[in-house]
């Protein structure tokens, strides 16, 4: 027997079952089936594990919402539709360690009394899709999935590829898409825990969230809580990109220094460059300025600084970047990905994109700056789902903190001096 498995990432990035077992895989079943389903939910609640998809909702609480008795089947759905600019942590698990995800989904199925899981995987993650399909096949062949897991529990997984829509990362749009409908967010309530996939009670969690559960079961609460601070426990994946010399996915305990992470772990900025701003949790979160990053890297500290840890995707922006163009590129993304269901997102983002295109081509007007701020104000909080709320921070923050760059654009002086 090897050492107990302690990491979310596979050191060898080998997705095969053989290697996974050698790393101590599927050991959590021993612990899992010793406990009652309620004990599993309680353990996850006590661990303080928070959803790793972006909202940071306590996972144990989410599971506890599932009614014990249900007329319709219950479902476990893994949200593997990782698509936010800057976010690429789940991909590491999907491609390099898919059995860990399967193991976690079985634990969830056991805890809530569900026999069917779905992995909804982003259409663009073709390699990850193939590896998940292969992993499910292997697990089924060896009895880690199927009619009789450990002789007492039935659970199977279907891997489903999305068709390339960011909105399907929103859990209810994901469920619609999984049902074969057009991927658009649903009206809530009812929440998925009450009426989710095919109108059955459903848990929807992020890849990393599920993957965290086996580690918790194998190593216990004390080990899990030895990372991070209260309300922010556990090992965590951080994806860092942008202007750093060593971008990538890092598995770190919560609560390490944000500054150290950028300057030491990720190798710091390219030579001669200075830090302009950091997006801490994926492109939907507010900018942090250089003076704001001397804080621990966890949910609460970043919220206190006025942003959000989100999906823990850190984008580092140095002084070679024009902030107007940064905002333009991200706006183009959100405009392209808007589902079109609600008015402010559909119409607002296309309008804002047109304004940015004018700013880019030197057609900007002085009135565009207050107009952009007002349009942001007309969008935020008034939309059906949080997609447009996520599109606004970059526009708003770049205007507030870097207004002079907008004015330069309007005056016809673009940012060429910065390259």
């Amino acid at each position: 027997m090897s050492e107990p498995m302690k990491t979310l990432l596979a050191p060898d990035r080998n997705p095969s079952l053989e290697k996974y077992l050698a790393r101590g895989g599927y050991a959590s079943y021993q612990e899992l089936f010793k406990k009652s389903p309620k004990e599993v939910v309680d353990m996850v609640s006590t661990s303080g594990l928070r959803g790793r998809g972006g909202a940071g909702f306590p996972t144990g609480r989410k599971w506890s919402f599932i009614p014990e008795k249900s007329q319709r089947p219950k479902y476990v759905v893994c949200n593997a539709d990782e698509g936010e600019p800057g976010t690429f942590k789940d991909r590491e698990i999907l491609e390099g360690n898919p059995h860990l995800l399967i193991e976690g989904m079985v634990a969830c199925g056991y805890a809530i009394g569900s026999n069917q899981g779905y992995i909804y995987i982003r259409g663009e993650f073709y390699a990850g899709y193939l590896r998940c399909v292969e992993a499910v096949k292997e697990a089924r062949a060896k009895g880690y999935l199927g009619q009789s897991i450990n002789g007492k529990f039935a659970f199977d997984i279907i891997v489903h590829r999305g068709a390339g829509a960011y909105i399907c990362g929103e859990e209810t749009a994901l469920l619609d898409s999984l049902e074969g409908e057009r991927g658009q967010p649903r009206l809530k309530p009812p929440f998925p825990a009450v009426e989710g996939l095919f109108r059955g009670p459903t848990v929807v969690n992020n890849v990393e969230t599920f993957a965290s559960v086996p580690l918790l079961l194998i190593n216990g609460l004390d080990w899990y809580k030895s990372f991070g601070s209260p309300n922010n426990y556990g090992p965590k994946l951080f994806a860092i990109s942008g202007n750093v010399t060593k971008p990538g996915v890092y598995e770190l305990p919560m609560g390490i220094s944000f500054k150290d992470f950028i300057y030491k772990t990720a190798g710091g900025l390219p030579k001669g460059r200075t830090l302009k701003a950091v997006i801490p949790g994926g492109s939907s979160t507010s900018l942090l300025l250089p003076k704001q990053i001397d804080i621990p890297l966890d949910y609460d500290s970043i919220a206190k600084a006025g942003s959000s840890l989100g999906s823990a995707a850190i984008i580092v922006i140095d002084d070679s970047n024009c902030m107007v163009m940064t905002a333009k590129i991200l706006t183009e993304f959100y405009h392209h990905e808007s589902c079109g269901k609600c008015t402010p997102c559909r119409e607002g983002l296309s309008w804002i994109e047109q304004i940015y295109h004018r700013l880019e081509s030197g057609q900007g007007k002085a009135s565009d700056i207050p107009l952009l701020l007002d349009l942001c104000d007309q969008i935020v909080g008034n939309t059906f789902c949080p997609l447009a709320d996520g599109a606004v921070p970059i526009i708003h923050d770049t205007i507030i903190h870097f207004r002079s760059e907008y004015e330069a654009h309007i005056a016809g002086k673009c940012c060429e001096q910065k390259h």
Partner: protein, 799 residues
């Protein structure tokens, strides 16, 4: 009904009360506070997409949509706060950003919800100076339907049309294509539409995106006047608004937008057929044949010739037959029945629609049949050989809503899979003419299961046993199986608690006309000295004319020739008559044969009340300015007094008609009380043939968009006629007949040449042919809807 818990809340400082579950937008409307809406619609499930109805709730961090938020105890709501006003102005600005400024040429202008809301809640000016979205560049001007006009640039993406298509029409024909600001309403791969409820997407569209294409660019809505009327093209008999222009000409027909359950939608026949009575074939002048010379007269002068003709009819009592069809109002039928009994003193008062079971159904179910509310609250609906899409689309509408919006379970039975089979849980194949056998087997299976039953049949048995509230709907074919079917279905209904029955007869005001004219039933106070043993169906009359015992015929209704089965035989018979008096709205060979032809008002010009198949009482005001002549009831009243009867006002006829209906209802209720002791379900099985043995069963019905010949007269629906033989794919393969191949149908000694369309939606051994697609000469063999008919298919038409 249990009391529904109420909650107290405050809206804009006004304290109010509403039942739990009521949405804020509705609670506000009740106390006179208008919250603007686009995506919200009273007959559709909430969506919350357009965001125009955002309101502020005390202590809630964000604004919420009033169209999706139910009332809550102690809620304090603001609909005019600064935050709300700003948010609304923002939404209006967004909606208008890409909306073209083409109001001057848009047909919706004047009744456009977008215009109204922008005017009332908008900022008055826009800051949008960029390039507007234009779908036309990419997709050209695709014509999605010949009767709808489609301008995607005007769309505000409220999705009312797509939701209507899914939840109300049940067709899923239109949907959203692409995403974000490129999202557009379209059909899949731009196929053309085929919905029987076509046009409701235009009805609910708050903008000019989808409009009625038949009236495009023809008028402005502020020049139009709505006249309340009733559509008589099928027995759903829907209330309509018939819009007339400044000259009194009918320009369009819409559904009345009242807050009643029945009244937000119309089917394609009701909506687009309004041009049918405007053409050359309309009978505008009367003709009277005197000594072989035809004299014409205006409708206003029709009283004197008519009085003379009726005097001639009354001379020879007992030798006159009065035939009416179901496109007449209750008052008209009542007067026809009374004049026949008291003036003409004849027992022969015969409906043109041949329904063997109808008298029996009326005797037992008048006033007790399922209503629209029963369908909407049912948890199980069983359709027994009821092709509702063809026969009564708006009853199909209630079924679709019950299934798609309220989650009712639906099962279909019969030789055809219909639109509703596709949304049902199972379809049980059942041979034509054997609906009674199905009902009897179901009754047996409820007591003890049969081992040899099909899986679908067992599913139906389970569903009936588990139902809390069941509605059984049968179409016109089972009705033609006669009283035995009615007894069987009554027996089934009595064995299932909380179950209701609905039969859907052919025709228009079929139930009302039959009850009021008193065919086959005694009506109190009418000529007690007249025998009750008159002819009951049209074949009897035809036989009696040929034998010479009937010498005069009075035909009253609309489009009468179409209803006379075997026209060539009738034509010969009519030549023997002394007098043939016809009241019709259309010119036909029949009116040219008549000794007196009187023009009357058409199906949407008429005046009077109508009893729908769902038991609803609908009123047509007869207020269309350009209508041809006067109302038939008033003409009949004058005629009656001229012939020696007492003078009576139209209003008093109306109240007598209502009383007579109540009398029928109480009689039906008494019949139920009497019957509780004796269960009279006929145990004798039908003599359903063996399909496929000596040819195929030929099912005959209306084409999807047609009702008799009437709708064919208009240009709008005339273009949709489908003359093809629907044939089971497996049968066709066996006979080596390919799709689209021409074949000859041999029916008795007659032959009809048609093209074949193969389908899996029809039972092996059966074929379907639309009666409307055949000329009178081509359908001599036709014996009435539901009459068993065998045909031999001759491949290649070579024979």
């Amino acid at each position: 009904m249990a009391d529904i818990a109420k909650v107290r809340l405050t809206i804009d400082g006004i304290s109010t009360e509403a039942e739990k579950g009521v949405l804020l937008v509705e609670a506000a409307r009740r106390i006179g506070i208008k919250i603007p809406v686009f995506c919200s619609h009273s007959k559709l499930l909430p969506l919350g997409a357009c965001r125009i109805c955002l309101v502020e709730i005390e202590k809630a961090p964000k604004l919420v949509t009033a169209c999706t938020t139910p009332v809550g105890e102690g809620m304090v709501v603001f609909t005019r706060s600064a935050r709300v006003v700003k948010a609304r102005q923002g939404i209006v600005e967004f909606l208008l950003a890409n909306h073209p400024l083409d109001c001057p040429i848009c047909d919706q202008g004047g009744e456009c919800e977008l215009q109204d809301v922008c005017f009332e809640f908008g900022r008055g000016k826009s800051r949008f100076e960029d390039i507007k979205r234009n779908f036309d560049n990419k997709y050209g001007r695709i014509k999605l339907s010949p009767v709808l006009s489609w301008v995607n640039n005007r769309c505000i993406h409220c999705e009312r049309c797509t939701r209507v298509c899914h939840q109300v029409v049940g067709e899923d024909h239109i949907g959203m294509l692409n995403r974000g600001d490129k999202a557009m309403i379209s059909t899949f791969q731009f196929t053309q539409m085929t919905c029987e409820l076509c046009g409701n997407c235009a009805e609910v569209c708050p903008t000019g995106t989808i409009t009625n294409g038949t009236v495009k660019y023809k008028d402005r809505v502020w020049n139009l006047t709505p006249n309340p009327s009733v559509c008589l093209l099928c027995s759903s008999s829907c209330a309509t608004r018939v819009w007339t222009d400044l000259k009194g000409k009918v320009t369009r027909v819409t559904a009345p937008k009242d807050e009643q359950d029945c009244c937000d939608f119309l089917c394609a026949k009701g909506r687009f057929s309004f041009d049918a009575d405007q053409g050359e074939q309309r009978l505008r002048e009367g003709t009277k044949i005197t000594s072989e010379v035809a004299e014409t007269f205006q409708q206003s002068e029709s009283l004197q010739p008519t009085v003379q003709a009726f005097k001639a009819l009354a001379k020879d009592s007992g030798s006159t037959a009065v035939i009416y069809n179901s496109r007449i109002a209750n008052e008209e039928a009542y007067l026809v029945g009374r004049i026949a009994r008291t003036v003409l003193k004849t027992p022969h008062v015969v409906p043109l629609e041949n329904h063997e079971g109808l008298t029996s159904y009326l005797d037992r179910f008048s006033g007790r049949q399922s209503t629209s509310k029963d369908i909407l609250s049912a948890d199980l609906i069983l359709l027994v050989d009821a092709p509702l899409a063809r026969e009564t689309p708006m009853i199909g509408y209630f079924v679709t809503r019950a299934v798609r919006q309220k989650g009712a379970a639906l099962y279909t039975v019969g030789p055809e899979k219909t639109r509703h089979s596709s949304m049902g849980l199972a379809h049980h194949w059942n041979a034509p003419g054997a609906s009674k056998d199905f009902v009897l087997s179901l009754i047996e299976a409820l007591q003890s299961r049969k081992s040899d039953a099909s899986a679908e049949f067992n599913k139906i048995v389970d569903a009936v046993q588990g139902s809390r509230q069941m509605v059984i709907i049968a179409g016109s074919r089972p009705l033609a199986e006669g009283p035995a079917f009615i007894r069987a279905i009554e027996s089934l209904s009595s064995k299932v608690a909380n179950s209701k029955v609905l039969m859907v007869p052919e025709g228009g005001n079929t139930l009302g006309a039959m009850l009021m004219a008193g065919s086959g039933m005694r009506v109190p106070g009418w000529g007690s000295n007249v025998s009750q043993n008159g002819c009951s169906v049209q074949e009897d009359v035809l036989g009696a004319i040929e034998k010479g015992s009937i010498k005069n015929v009075l035909l009253i209704g609309e489009d009468l020739q179409e209803g006379l089965i075997n026209w060539p035989r009738w034509k010969t018979a009519f030549a023997k008559l002394a007098n043939l008096v016809v009241f019709d709205a259309f010119r036909s060979e029949l009116t040219s044969l008549a000794t007196l032809a009187v023009p009357v008002r058409s199906f949407h010009e008429f005046e009077g009340s109508v009893l729908s198949a769902l038991g609803e009482w609908k009123i047509a005001r007869g207020s269309i300015p350009g209508a041809v002549g006067q109302s038939m009831s008033r003409l009949l009243l004058k005629l009656e007094s001229e012939l020696g009867g007492a003078e009576q006002s139209f209003a008093s006829v109306t109240s007598e008609v209502k009383k007579l209906y109540q009398w029928h209802v109480s009689r039906a209720t008494e019949a139920v009380e009497d019957k509780k002791s004796a269960d009279s379900a006929g145990k004798d099985k039908s003599t359903g043939g063996n399909p496929g043995k000596d040819g195929v069963f030929l099912l005959i019905g209306n084409d999807l968009y047609h009702s008799g010949a009437m709708t064919l007269r208009g240009a709008h629906l005339g273009q949709f006629l489908n003359r093809s033989l629907l044939m089971n794919s497996a049968d066709a393969e066996k006979m080596k007949i390919s799709n689209d191949a021409r074949v000859q149908l041999k029916i008795g000694s007659d032959k009809v040449s048609v093209a074949v369309r193969t389908t899996d939606d029809i039972m092996s051994g059966c074929c379907f042919l639309a009666l409307n697609s055949l000329s009178p000469d081509e359908r001599r063999w036709f014996g009435g809807i539901g009459k068993p008919l065998t045909a031999v298919i001759i491949s290649g038409g070579a024979a």
